[in-house]
């Protein structure tokens, strides 16, 4: 598959995942179609702990097992989209767990059964004992109407 992350972008995501341990990290890469270098990596804030503290019934998980991108970051993403950028990569980490696309990830990536970002690549990092030990990438397959695993090797 095409390279979805540059070495520098991957290094930043990798560092973000380890810095936010034991919370899940999250962020997006926005790119402007038709340009090779017009890319913006937004390391976002995971507000899951705040949601859990405010309403543990509606948000039973904390940031150790879930992420919810800060609405302020969502607004920044929307602003970039309105400038012609597209969400190319959505990343987050799993703590003491593997790099897979979980049922929760899948559920939250759909709105009424349709993919929210059908052209985006979802990158999941596995962080064990404060260290990133694995990563995998997933995207929506229009033919199968399902998220499928992509061949992903982190750039060196």
């Amino acid at each position: 598959m095409a390279v979805i992350l540059s070495s520098e972008e991957w290094a930043r995501i990798h560092a973000h995942a380890e810095a936010d341990y034991p919370s899940e990290c999250c962020g997006v890469l926005l790119t402007r179609p038709g340009t090779a270098t017009d890319r913006v990596l937004l390391s976002c804030r995971n507000v899951q702990d705040e949601l859990h503290a405010k309403d543990p019934v509606r948000h039973p998980r904390d940031a150790r097992t879930a992420y919810f991108i800060d609405p302020k970051d969502l607004l920044a993403i929307g602003r970039r989209e309105s400038q012609g950028y597209e969400v190319a990569v959505i990343y987050h980490s799993h703590i003491e767990a593997g790099a897979y696309f979980s049922a929760t990830d899948r559920q939250n990536a759909l709105i009424n059964g349709e993919p929210t970002y059908p052209d985006a690549t979802y990158v999941v990092l596995s962080v064990v004992d404060r260290r990133v030990v694995d990563a995998a990438a997933f995207t929506w397959d229009r033919g199968q109407r399902e998220f499928v695993t992509l061949d992903f090797t982190p750039p060196g």
Binding site: L75, G98, T104, S126, D134
Partner: protein, 103 residues
């Protein structure tokens, strides 16, 4: 009350790919009514059957989330900017498996 609305990519399939529209509405509820009246495909995407904004959708008026304002009753003024954005969220499944080494 002319208000500018930004439609995010995931909802543009319901708006004939329009990303910006102008709506006349006195408040956020009226604005959503107006949008759903124009594009029926938006029904169910932004609000649930009770008319409440879905938990996975955020609505902002001039960069302020409506939860921090007056919710659907938030009044709108001429020239306001409304942005509708789906949440980005997820997480590990319960009963997590251990991580594995790099392949």
């Amino acid at each position: 009350m002319s208000v500018h609305v930004y439609i995010p990519t995931p909802f543009r399939r319901a708006t004939n790919n329009q990303d910006r529209v102008t709506v006349d509405a006195p408040d956020v509820r009226g604005l959503l009514d107006e949008l759903e009246g124009t594009w029926s495909g938006l029904r169910g995407l932004v609000r649930d059957e009770r008319g409440e904004v879905h938990a996975h959708v955020n609505v902002y008026v001039n960069s302020e989330a409506i939860e921090a304002l007056q919710g659907l009753a938030t009044p709108l003024r001429d020239g306001d900017e409304v942005t509708i954005i789906p949440a980005l969220a997820g997480g590990t499944r319960e009963g997590r498996g251990g991580g594995r080494a790099w392949r």
